[in-house]
């Protein structure tokens, strides 16, 4: 690995100022994604060779979580996933979130990997991760997946670039309608997570709205509501240490056995976490049963535009949607 400079940030303001000053500085959390990226020397016309790592773990108060019945859950972006998956308040009040926090990678990676890092990690397209491929995302002029090996690529919303969103936690947080607190040179703001991710249509080189000198400081999850049923499923090739082929997180508010409101998100299928709005519309006001679950999943996946090698993901996505709906039933 080539040498890089290391800077231990003392505060969020310090971190933002350092990033603003150095265009080749990059925020570092657990490093489980970023260090691999740098070791593999993944650079391109629009993907700089990062020279300074600004460590966010040294910022006081950046890690940890708080829960209150009225306010819900607030999680510092630097909190390791392993802390969250076993936190009593989360396991009891948001069991589906606890499941999602335990889903990524392996215990050793979750010990260093943070929630902020998980949400902001770069995609896993194997061409993107190969130093020899200068693709659109790195600022090149080609997408190798279109004509190449695309069995793990997008079946929905692909355009120019066909990455899938890699985060296991994002769909779960989105299903809970979580918000992200962002800090930048002009101060702090809070945005719904549903407005946080951007697809290739907006900017093929980025995955979030964050500017170079902006950071995610906190995730806010609304207080649990009565009558809500949730479910989380991750389909993989192997039991652990594996990104999702598809994953689904569902949040259903049920009243008198009828679906009053719902949020259903998928990862692994589209460049951003994908909201299954057709499913939500199909089940609204209805009582979920096998037939309705099947109808909703099938109608959603009519939207799918699989490529040469990934049509199987459409079938798996349908199955997971059905399971999520029926489990919440």
């Amino acid at each position: 690995m080539r040498s890089v400079k290391y800077y231990a940030a003392t505060s969020w303001g310090d971190a933002v100022a350092t990033l603003a000053k150095y265009p080749l500085a990059k925020p570092l959390a657990g490093g489980s994604d970023l260090l691999g990226w740098i070791k593999d020397d993944l650079v391109g016309p629009k993907e700089p060779r990062w020279e300074i790592l600004v460590d966010l773990r040294t910022i006081e108060g950046a890690s940890g979580y708080r829960y209150s019945q009225g306010d819900g859950l607030r999680i510092g972006a630097l909190t390791p996933l392993s802390t969250l998956e076993t936190a009593k308040e989360i396991v009891e009040n948001y069991p589906m979130l606890a499941k999602a926090f335990a889903a990524p990678a392996s215990p050793n990676i979750r010990n260093v990997g943070t929630l902020g890092g998980n949400i902001n990690q770069r995609p896993r397209c194997w061409y993107l991760r190969g130093p020899e491929f200068s693709c659109y995302k790195k600022g090149g002029d080609f997408c190798f997946a279109v004509t190449g090996m695309n069995q793990y690529h997008a079946i929905l919303d692909g355009e120019l670039c066909y990455i899938v969103h890699p985060s296991d936690t994002a769909p779960a947080l989105l299903a809970f309608d979580a918000k992200a607190k962002i800090v930048g040179p002009r101060g702090e703001k809070t945005v719904p997570l549903s407005e946080y991710f951007i697809g290739p249509r907006v900017d093929v080189t980025r995955e979030t709205i964050l500017a170079h000198d902006e950071l995610m400081t906190e995730i806010q999850v609304p207080a649990p509501q009565p009558g809500v049923k949730t479910a989380y499923f991750k389909a993989t090739n192997r039991e652990t240490y594996d990104f999702a082929i598809v994953n689904v997180a569902s949040w259903l508010k049920i009243k008198d056995n009828l679906v009053e409101d719902s949020r259903i998100y998928l990862s692994g299928v589209a460049p951003t976490p994908y909201r299954a709005t057709i499913v939500e519309q199909t089940i609204k006001g209805k009582r979920i049963d096998e037939a309705l679950a099947r109808q909703a999943a099938d109608q959603q996946m009519v939207r799918a535009r699989p490529m040469s090698d990934n049509a199987y993901k459409v079938d798996i996505a349908k199955a997971l949607i059905r399971r999520a709906l029926l489990e919440a039933n």
């Binding site: 690995m1 061409y127 190969g130 993989t236 082929i245 079938d315």
Partner: protein, 761 residues
Amino acid sequence: MVTTTRPSEKTTHKVIGTRPIRPDGVDKVTGRAIYGADVTLPGLLIGKVLRSPFAHARIRNIDTGAAERLPGVRAVITAADLPDPDKGMADVGEASATYRDLSHNVMARDKALYQGHAVAAVAAESASIAEQALALITVDYEPLPPVLDLVEAMKDDAPLLHEDLRTNELGTLSDKPSNIAAHARFLKGDPAAGFAEADVIVERTYTTTMVHQGYIEPHASTAYWNADGKITIWTTTQAPFAIRDNVAVLLNVPVSRVKVIPTEIGGGFGGKLPPYVEPLAAVLSRKSGAPVKMTMSRTEELQASGPTSGSRTHVKIGAKRDGTIVAVEASLAYEAGAFPGSSVRFGSLCMFAPYDIPNMQLDSYDVVVNKPKVAAYRAPGSPAAMFASESALDELAERLGMDPIELRLKNSAKVGTRMANNIPFQHPVGNVKVLEAIRESDHWRSPLPESTETRKIGRGLAMGFWPNAPLKSSCFATVNPDGSVTLVEGNPDIGGTRASLAMQLAETLGIPYEKVIPQVADTETVGYNDATGGSRTTFTGGIAVYELGQDIKQQLIERARILWQLNPEDAIVYEDGTIRGPKEGQQLSFDQLAAQLFKTGGPVVGRASVSPKHVGFAFGCHVVDLAVDIETGKVEILRYTAAQDVGKAVHPSYVEGQIQGGVAQGIGWALNEEYVYDEQGRLVNASFLDYRMPTSLDLPMIETILVEEPHPPHPFGVRGVGEVPIVPPLAAVANAISHALGHRFTDLPISPRRIIETLYP
């Protein structure tokens, strides 16, 4: 863990069959053991390799000037710095290669033949300087069309990897250049006549993709080319002597100038038989005058070490209605990678070896493609071939409405049965006993769980065969005054062989296991030893330490004669570690005599050098229960039982470990592992994230049944156990999935994608 051991008749052993802790255990669990990358020396430089981004390209020119000028760079080499050896055959274990191919594989000469093929190397004062230097080397490539597919590669008009390669067509060299390096055939009886008698014929084509051994420790070597011309190499290898000999030829120096010191080794499975970075580190050291360490990254391992062949096998089996197999035909094509020498002939020899079949024609094709040159991988050649044959047999049993164990028992080979190469089984083999062991097992007798609408349950069974290799071992040992024995042997300890050899020596001498202190020596300290491979170390090494024990016993008897002042004709017996003279009460324990050796002529040093002719064949029979989620394509292994004829389990825990490890690798091969190349021959999944070996969570505890059918020529009845357990899982898993889903799966891996695409075409 469920383990059933079936003891052999003779259970008089005191040490063999027990489960002591391994001598190297504490160092390994406390992190003190020195592995390849742990070696360090004063003034050590770090070497790195520049690798071809193209799968197939002519190398027009390499400009190393800018790299050489970078401060901190101490040497840059290309193929021009290596001699070009002749075409003699090199020793690379159970695969094959000429010295020239080995040299051209270590460093590309005129052509880069696979992505990751080494084209230049650098030694620098730090790893990061070395990496910067690699980026400064400019290579002028002329890209050529890559040859990636077996069927395409075999076509007459395929682009050629080697313009001078001609097919060895059944023993004669053809005159047309081709990517088919060899076509061999085993023929027995009259297959056409046999098929004419058949009532049922099963015929299918099976494929597997290239897979890697996945040893946990990457290749790591340090070389120091001293000013006096002596080359010392510390390396993680299964074969220190073969590395010594190969490096000597590749560098054109006498063998006496090369000393290889094997480090501890974190797995090999055949992948650590050939040289990769050793010769490069040596040449960089000569050029720089300093020691050079080179370690391969996981990506380099996957791209450019020695995985095993992808394959395509066509099988035809003919049987009578009562299950008698009357004829088989098979045609196997294996990827050799960039240079000839796959294990396809081994595969064809193994595939029907458990059975007595009168008529067989087995054709094998060794085919070069623009992928890394394959190396041996645990029972090389057999898993892919027996995936085909054992799948076809399962289908035959189904078609005949016969129990798969009964079908196999009905056709079992016995002593005297001739294999496809017409060589008869000379010694008792355990093929019938392992089938019976499975038939009587709790697993086979337990009913399967019920399938549900989305979770389909299946059970599959398959056999495996591997002939094992005896080869040569030598060792010596010194009896110390405290009654301990220092054993010096020459086989790197991969699977617990320090323990298994110490146990056999302790048994021979009738002393406690703890009294034997084994150590693995370098190539200048002990006599020649063939590789730790071919399931041979406990087998042949065991014969060596047995002979060594006889030598020590004889010498001790002579020392007692001196102490007791007896005549040459007076009978002295050595029994259970006690030496007895002819007079009543005239006896010495091993310890007592050891304490008096210096008074009777100095230490006793025993030695042995053996090259056994006979080897014990290995058979296994495995059964697996699994569940297939038909909506996600995920396969869950519910229960797995492996019965194996182990001859005699010297250390049963380590034997069980070998079986469990082989099964784990075989299940990975069946379900998930595959080299994914894009259309230009670039390996897109060159990491352990995307190349998916099974984890502990993907496997249940693998149950083992150790069947002990002793191999008579071995003093303790041992037969090799390490390789055959990887053979049956491919077909066993595929057969189970086929039964669960009512559809025959003939292509590996049977990943979620393959299952979903098959179920919902």
